[in-house]
C-alpha cells in the first residue's frame, strides 16, 4: 500500500482500457510505467474481473490496490483504473462523457471504428484525459478541436 508521501507521485488514473467481451483489447492507455509483461497481466486480470459481473452489480470493482470503474456499452467494456479513495461516480461519468464524444465523432461508433481508426481514438483520449487526469470535459470543445484536427488531414 502506498504511503502518503508516495501518493503524490502517482497519477489518479493508472490506465484506461477498452476491451471487448472476448478480452481483445481495443484501446490501452497507460499513465504509469508498466513493463510489457505486467501490462499483459493487467489486461487479462481486468478482463477476468469485469466480465463475470452482471448488471445488478456495482460499476466498481476492487482490483489489487486500486479499483476499476467500468461501464459496458454493447460488447465493449470501458474500464478506468483509479485509486481506492477516488470519486467513483465522477469517473463513471467521465467514461460516459468519453463515449458520447466518440459516438458523435464517429457517427454511431462501433467496435470496428475503434479498431480501424485507432490513431483517432488516441487523439480523442489525449484531448479528454492527460497525465492521468481529466483534461477537458466539454463535449462541444472537444469535438470542435477534433474537427479542426481532421480538417488538417
Amino acid at each position: 500500500m502506498l504511503s502518503d508521501s508516495q501518493r503524490h507521485h502517482v497519477p489518479i488514473i493508472r490506465f484506461i482500457l477498452i476491451q471487448n467481451r472476448a478480452g481483445k483489447t481495443r484501446l490501452a492507455k497507460w499513465y504509469m510505467q508498466f513493463d510489457d509483461d505486467e501490462k499483459q497481466k493487467l489486461i487479462e486480470e481486468v478482463h477476468a474481473v469485469v466480465t463475470v459481473r452482471d448488471a445488478k452489480h456495482t460499476n466498481f470493482v476492487e482490483f489489487r490496490n486500486f479499483k476499476i470503474i467500468y461501464r459496458r456499452y454493447a460488447g465493449l467494456y470501458f474500464c478506468i483504473c483509479v485509486d481506492v479513495t477516488d470519486n467513483n461516480l465522477a469517473y463513471l461519468e467521465a467514461i460516459h462523457n468519453f463515449v458520447e464524444v466518440l459516438n458523435e465523432y464517429f457517427h454511431n461508433v462501433c467496435e470496428l471504428d475503434l479498431v480501424f481508426n485507432f490513431y483517432k481514438v488516441y487523439t480523442v483520449v489525449d484531448e479528454m484525459f492527460l497525465a492521468g487526469e481529466i483534461r477537458e470535459t466539454s463535449q462541444t470543445k472537444v469535438l470542435k478541436q477534433l474537427l479542426m484536427l481532421q480538417s488538417l488531414e
Binding site: 500500500m1 502506498l2 504511503s3 502518503d4 501518493r7 503524490h8 507521485h9 502517482v10 497519477p11 489518479i12 483489447t25 510505467q33 508498466f34 513493463d35 510489457d36 459481473r53 445488478k56 452489480h57 456495482t58 460499476n59 466498481f60 470493482v61 476492487e62 490496490n65 479499483k67 485509486d83 481506492v84 479513495t85 470519486n87 467513483n88 461516480l89 465522477a90 463513471l92 461519468e93 460516459h96 462523457n97 470496428l112 480501424f116 485507432f118 490513431y119 488516441y122 487523439t123 489525449d126 492527460l130 497525465a131 492521468g132 487526469e133 481529466i134 483534461r135 477537458e136 470535459t137 466539454s138 463535449q139 462541444t140 470543445k141 478541436q145 479542426m148 484536427l149 488538417l152 488531414e153
Partner: protein, 1002 residues
C-alpha cells in the same frame, strides 16, 4: 476488406494449380462475368434537364467474403470527374433494384452531347476502399435523348485503375501452437508506376507512404505483435510539417516508447522545435507526448520551458490545459527537477481563468503541488472556494458547454473539493462561511427533484455530493453538516441504484468515526444489517460489514456481533477471514460480561472453523486466563462442547484452554475419567502440534487427579506414543511417563504449576486490523495474509524444534556418536539424573515467562546437580522463538563444560541430501572403531517400508532413496551443527525380513 484484391488473387493465381487452365481459356484473357446493369437516359428540352434512371443490376459478382456484395452505382458525366451522384447501397444483393432517378438540371443540350455518361458499380466497404465491380460508359451524342430510352448493358472491368495498383502473390500460414502467422510474399505484377520517372524503385519514401507504413506498423503492434523496426521513420515523421504525419510520428513514440528508450533522445529536438513553433496544434502534440512518456530525460530537457508556456499571456487555452497537466506529470516523475518559482503564484490565479477547461487542468496541478508544499499554495483555498461557489450557485444553463446533463461542471466541482481537502477548514471567517454555504447548497440540491430522469444526471450530481461529504468529513468541524450528510447517505442506503448503496455504505464508514455523526450513523443499523442479508454483490456486502464494524459501540455490540456471526455462516469465502477478525475484536472490545465473550468466540470458532487464525484463539486464551471470573465458566463450557466439536481448530483451542486451567475443570460436574476419555477419543484426529499439547494436558491431569494416573500412564506407554514416528511426540511421551512414575507429588505439583497471567498488552489482531484501516479504506487482504503467515511461522515453527531435553549422550569427541534408533531412545532414558529431571519446554521466548526461564535454564546447565524445578509451560500466545539460538546454547554448554546433559542429539539433525557415491565414500572414511557403531536388534513388528521411512525422517535425517545398491536397505544422512564443529552422521538400516532383524549402523 480488400476482398476485391482477394477475388482477383484467387482467380489469377488459379492457373498455378494444375487442371484449372481451361477456365481461363473460354472467356478470353481477363474476361470475368461482371453482370449487367439496366438504366434509362432522356433529356427534357423544356427544363434543360438530363434524367438518368438507374433501374437494376443482375448477376453481379460477389465481392465480399460472405459471398454477396453491397452494390451501389456512381454516376459521372465525363470528362467532369468532380461532380458525381451515387445511388443507395443495396445490402447483400447480387440482383439489386435501385430504381433511383437523377436529374442534371439546367444542363444545356449542347453541353450534354459533349459528355459521356459513365456508370460505375461498386461494392461498399465500410472500413476500406470500395471495390469496383464494373463500369459502363455511353457517349451521350450516340443516344437519342429525346425519348427516355432503357438499356441493358454488360459491365466491363474498370480500367481507371482506382482499385488496381498491381497484384501481389502471397501465401499465409497460421501456426496455432506458436500463435504466429507466416506471410510469404512471392511476387508482384502489373504494379502501378508510382514515381515521377514512371517506375518504382529504391527511392526514399514520400511523407504520405511513410506515414501509411508507420501507421500500419503501429496497428500491427497494437494487435499484440512485436515491432522492431520503423522507429527511425517515426522520428522522421515527427519532424514533418504536416499535421497528419506529425501525429502518427508522435503516436508511434508515445505507444512504443517503453520498449525503446533510446528514441527519446532522438526526438527531444523535434519536441523542442514544436514547443517553440507557436502553432497550437503542434505545441499540443509535443506537450501530450511529454505527458505520455514523462521520462527523466524529458524532464531534464523541458522543465524550464513548460512553466513559461503555462503562464505566458498569449498562450492559447488548449495549450495551457496541456501544459498544466504536462508539468504535473513531470513533477510526479522527477519532482526534484521541477523548480518552484514565481510561476507558482501565477498558476494559482489560473483558478480564476475564464476558460473552465483551463481551470480543470490547473486544479489538478495545484492539488498535486499543494500536497507537497501546502504553505506555498495556501492562497488557492479562497480562490477555489469562490470558484466553487460560482459553480454551485449557477443556473443549469449558465455554464453552457460545461453543463453535463443539467449539472454545472461536475468534474471541476469534484476537483475543487479535492483541492480543499488538502487544507484544514479555512481560518478566514468569510471564506469559511462561503464554503459552508456551498456545501449546504450541494446538500440542498440533493433533496431537490431531479431535473432529468437519466442516470447520468443523478450520477453527476451525486459525484459532487459525495465529494462534498468527503470534505465535510475531512474538516470534521461542523456537526450540523455532518448530521445532514449522514441523513442524506441514509436515504441512499435504500436507493434502487446499487452504485449508490455501495457508495453510501463506504462513505458512512468514515462518518461513523466522527464524534459528531457517530450517533446519527447508528440509527441506520437495521438497514445496514438488511443490506448484509440481501445484497447480491459481494463488494456491497463487504462494505456493509465494514460499516457495522465502524458503527459498533458498547450499546449495539451484542446485536452487531450476533448479526455478523449469522452472516458468517453464509458469507463468501473471500471475506470470511476478515469478518472473523472483526468479530473477535468487537467481541473483545465491547464485551460487557465475559461469559458472553466466551460464548461468542466459541460460536465464532464453531461457525468459521478453519478461517479462525491462530492469533485469534491465542488472544482468547490470554484474555480468559487473565480474568479469574471467567475461567471457571469458560473451562466448563469448553468442556461441555468437547464431545461434539467438529473442527480441528476448535478442538485445538479447547485443549489449549483446558491444559492451562485443568485445575478449574475439577469444579465441573464430570468425573475426571470421563473428561479424559472424551479428550483422548479425539487424539488420533489431531495434528502433531495438537497431539503434543494433548500429551502435556494429560500430565497435568496426572498432577490433579491421581486417581486416573494409571489410565494415563497406560496411554503414554502404548506403542503409538512411545514409538511415534515424530520425535517430539515420542519424547514427550517418554518424559511424561518417567515424570509421572518417579517424581514425588511435590515435584509434580511444582513442575506442572498453572500458567501465570499474561501481562496486558495490545491485541495483535487489533494492530493488524488497525493497519488494515490505514491510508486506504480498502484492506489489502494479501498483505495481511502475508504478515499473518510470518507471525504464524514464528509461533508454529518452534514447536517442531521445541526442545524437551532428556536422555544422555555426550559427545566427548565429535565423531564419537551414539547411534540412537527409535528403540534405543527408550533404553537410554531409563536413568534420569538424580537431582530431578530438567524439563525445559519452551514455546516462546518473547513472553516474560520465557525471559525468566531462559536464564534459569542456563543456571541449570552450569550446576546440573542442583535439584532444580522448572516449570512446564506451553505458552499458546507464543510469538517468536529463535530456534537457532537455543541450539547454540545447548551446543555451547556441551562443548565447554563437558557435563552430561540430557540431550538427544537427533533433535539437532539437519537433513542432508547426498549422492550414492558421496555416501559410500564418507561411509568408508569412518573406519575407526569408535567412529562407527552397529546394533542388531529384533524388530517387534513386521516391517512396512513406508512406516520405516517415516520413522527415519522423524529421526531427523534426510532419507536417501536409491543410494544403497540393495533396494531394501534404508539409508539416511544428517548434520549436527554445534558452535564449533559440524558433525556428519550417516545411517544405514538393513532389514532382514526373515529374521525380522534390523541392522542399524552409524
Amino acid at each position: 476488406m480488400c476482398s476485391a484484391l482477394w477475388e482477383r488473387l484467387i482467380d489469377k493465381t488459379a492457373p498455378l494449380s494444375p487442371g484449372s487452365e481451361d477456365d481461363n481459356g473460354h472467356e478470353g484473357p481477363g474476361r470475368e462475368k461482371l453482370g449487367r446493369i439496366q438504366f434509362s437516359v432522356g433529356y427534357n428540352f423544356q427544363d434543360s434537364t438530363l434524367t438518368v434512371k438507374i433501374l437494376k443490376g443482375q448477376e453481379l459478382p460477389a465481392k465480399d467474403f460472405s459471398g454477396t456484395s453491397d452494390p451501389f452505382v456512381k454516376i459521372y458525366l465525363l470528362p467532369d470527374k468532380k461532380n458525381k451522384l451515387e445511388t443507395k447501397v443495396k445490402r447483400k444483393n447480387l440482383n439489386p433494384h435501385w430504381n433511383e432517378t437523377f436529374l442534371f438540371e439546367g444542363f444545356p443540350y449542347e453541353k450534354v452531347v459533349q459528355r459521356t455518361l459513365y456508370l460505375q458499380v461498386l461494392d461498399y466497404d465500410r472500413f476500406s476502399r470500395n471495390d469496383p465491380i464494373g463500369e459502363v460508359s455511353i457517349p451521350l451524342n450516340k443516344v437519342d435523348l429525346a425519348h427516355m430510352q432503357t438499356f441493358w448493358k454488360e459491365l466491363k472491368p474498370c480500367i481507371d485503375g482506382s482499385g488496381s495498383r498491381g497484384e501481389l502473390l502471397l501465401s499465409l500460414c497460421y501456426n496455432p501452437t506458436a500463435n504466429t502467422i507466416t506471410v510469404n510474399i512471392i511476387k508482384a505484377r502489373n504494379l502501378k508506376a508510382m514515381d515521377i520517372g514512371g517506375t518504382s524503385g529504391d527511392k526514399a519514401l514520400d511523407g504520405y507512404s511513410k506515414k501509411k507504413y508507420v501507421c500500419k506498423l503501429l496497428f500491427i503492434f497494437l494487435l499484440g505483435h512485436d515491432i522492431d523496426f520503423g522507429h527511425m521513420e517515426a522520428v522522421n515523421l515527427l519532424s514533418s510539417n504536416r499535421y497528419t504525419e506529425k501525429q502518427i510520428g508522435y503516436l508511434f513514440i508515445s505507444v512504443l516508447v517503453n520498449s525503446n528508450s533510446e528514441l527519446i533522445r532522438l526526438i527531444n529536438n523535434g519536441i523542442k522545435n514544436d514547443l517553440a513553433s507557436r502553432n497550437p496544434t503542434f505545441m499540443n502534440l509535443a506537450l501530450h507526448c511529454i505527458a505520455n512518456v514523462g521520462s527523466r530525460e524529458m524532464a531534464e530537457a523541458f522543465t524550464a520551458d513548460i512553466p513559461k508556456i503555462l503562464v505566458a499571456g498569449d498562450t492559447m487555452d488548449s495549450v495551457k490545459q496541456s501544459a498544466a497537466l504536462c508539468l504535473l506529470r513531470l513533477n510526479r516523475t522527477s519532482p526534484d527537477l521541477v523548480p518552484m518559482g514565481e510561476w507558482t503564484s501565477r498558476v494559482v490565479h489560473l483558478l480564476n481563468d475564464q476558460h473552465l477547461g483551463v481551470v480543470t487542468a490547473a486544479t489538478s496541478l495545484i492539488t498535486t503541488l499543494a500536497q507537497k508544499n501546502p504553505e506555498e499554495f495556501k492562497t488557492s483555498v479562497s480562490l477555489a472556494v469562490s470558484r466553487l461557489s460560482r459553480i454551485v450557485t449557477s443556473a443549469s444553463t449558465d455554464l453552457q458547454d460545461y453543463t453535463y446533463y443539467f449539472v454545472p461542471a461536475p468534474w471541476l466541482s469534484v476537483k475543487l473539493l479535492r483541492l480543499l481537502q488538502c487544507y484544514p477548514p479555512p481560518e478566514d471567517g468569510a471564506v469559511r462561511g462561503r464554503l459552508t454555504e456551498c456545501l449546504e447548497t450541494i446538500l440542498n440540491k440533493a433533496q431537490e427533484p431531479p431535473k432529468s430522469k437519466k442516470v447520468q444526471h443523478s450520477n453527476a450530481k451525486n459525484a459532487v455530493l459525495f465529494e462534498a461529504i468527503s470534505l465535510i468529513i475531512h474538516h470534521d468541524s461542523e456537526p450540523n453538516l455532518l448530521v445532514r450528510a449522514c441523513n442524506q447517505l441514509g436515504q441512499f442506503l435504500q436507493h434502487r441504484e446499487t452504485n449508490l448503496r455501495y457508495l453510501a455504505l463506504e462513505s458512512m464508514c468514515t462518518l461513523a468515526s466522527s464524534e459528531f455523526s457517530h450517533e446519527a450513523v447508528k440509527t441506520h443499523i437495521e438497514t445496514v444489517i438488511n443490506a448484509l442479508k440481501t445484497e447480491r454483490d459481494v463488494s456491497v456486502r463487504q462494505r456493509a460489514v465494514d460499516l457495522l464494524y465502524a458503527m459498533c459501540d458498547r450499546s449495539n455490540a451484542q446485536q452487531i456481533v450476533a448479526e455478523m456471526l449469522n452472516y458468517l455462516e453464509t458469507a463468501d469465502y473471500s471475506i470470511r477471514e476478515e469478518i472473523v477478525l472483526k468479530v473477535a475484536i468487537l467481541a473483545e472490545k465491547y464485551a460487557v460480561d465475559y461469559t458472553w465473550y466466551v460464548d461468542t468466540i466459541l460460536n465464532l470458532i464453531r461457525i468459521a472453523g478453519d478461517y479462525v487464525s491462530e492469533e485469534v484463539w491465542y488472544r482468547v486464551i490470554q484474555i480468559v486466563i487473565n480474568r479469574d471470573d471467567v475461567q471457571g465458566y469458560s473451562a466448563k463450557t469448553v468442556f461441555e462442547k468437547v464431545g461434539f466439536a467438529d473442527y480441528l481448530t476448535l478442538f485445538t483451542y479447547e485443549i489449549l484452554l483446558l491444559q492451562n486451567q485443568v485445575s478449574l475443570v475439577s469444579q465441573c460436574a464430570f468425573c475426571p475419567l470421563i473428561q479424559f476419555n472424551l479428550l483422548h477419543s479425539k487424539f488420533h484426529l489431531c495434528s502433531v502440534p495438537t497431539r503434543a499439547l494433548l500429551l502435556s494436558t494429560y500430565i497435568k491431569f496426572v498432577n490433579l487427579f491421581p486417581e486416573i494416573k494409571a489410565t494415563i500412564q497406560d496411554v503414554l506407554r502404548s506403542d503409538s506414543q512411545l514409538r511415534n514416528a515424530d520425535v517430539e511426540l515420542q519424547q514427550r511421551a517418554v518424559e511424561y511417563l518417567r515424570l509421572s512414575s518417579i517424581a514425588s507429588t511435590d515435584i509434580l505439583a511444582t513442575v506442572l504449576e498453572e500458567m501465570p497471567p499474561f501481562p496486558e498488552r495490545e491485541s495483535s489482531i487489533l494492530t493488524k486490523l488497525k493497519k488494515k484501516k490505514g491510508p486506504g479504506k480498502v484492506p489489502d487482504v494479501e498483505e495481511i495474509k502475508k504478515e499473518r503467515n510470518s507471525d504464524m511461522n514464528g509461533s508454529t515453527e518452534p514447536a517442531s524444534v521445541n526442545s524437551s531435553a532428556v536422555t544422555m549422550s555426550t559427545p566427548s569427541t565429535s565423531t564419537d556418536l551414539l547411534g540412537l534408533g527409535p528403540a534405543p531412545v527408550l533404553n537410554s532414558v531409563a536413568p534420569p539424573s538424580a537431582g530431578g529431571s530438567l524439563l525445559v519446554d519452551v514455546f516462546s521466548d518473547n513472553s516474560p515467562a520465557v525471559a525468566s526461564l531462559a536464564p534459569s535454564a542456563e543456571e541449570n546447565f552450569s550446576s546440573p546437580r542442583i535439584g532444580s524445578t522448572d516449570v512446564v509451560f506451553d505458552d499458546p500466545a507464543a510469538a517468536v522463538h529463535d530456534a537457532d539460538e537455543l541450539v547454540d546454547k545447548y551446543g555451547g554448554a556441551l562443548q565447554n563444560m563437558s557435563v552430561k546433559l540430557p540431550v538427544t542429539l537427533n533433535k539437532f539433525f539437519q537433513p542432508t541430501e547426498m549422492t550414492s557415491q558421496d555416501f559410500f565414500q564418507r561411509w568408508k572414511q569412518l573406519s575407526a572403531p569408535q567412529q562407527e557403531m552397529q546394533k542388531i536388534f529384533k524388530a517387534k513388528h513386521p516391517m512396512d517400508t513406508e512406516v520405516t521411512k517415516a520413522k527415519i525422517i522423524g529421526f531427523g535425517v534426510a532419507l536417501l532413496d536409491m543410494v544403497d545398491p540393495n533396494p531394501s536397505n534404508f539409508t539416511g544422512a544428517g548434520v549436527i551443527h554445534t558452535k564449533n564443529i559440524q558433525v556428519g552422521c550417516l545411517l544405514r538400516l538393513e532389514p532382514n525380513t526373515q529374521a525380522q532383524e534390523k541392522d542399524l549402523i552409524r
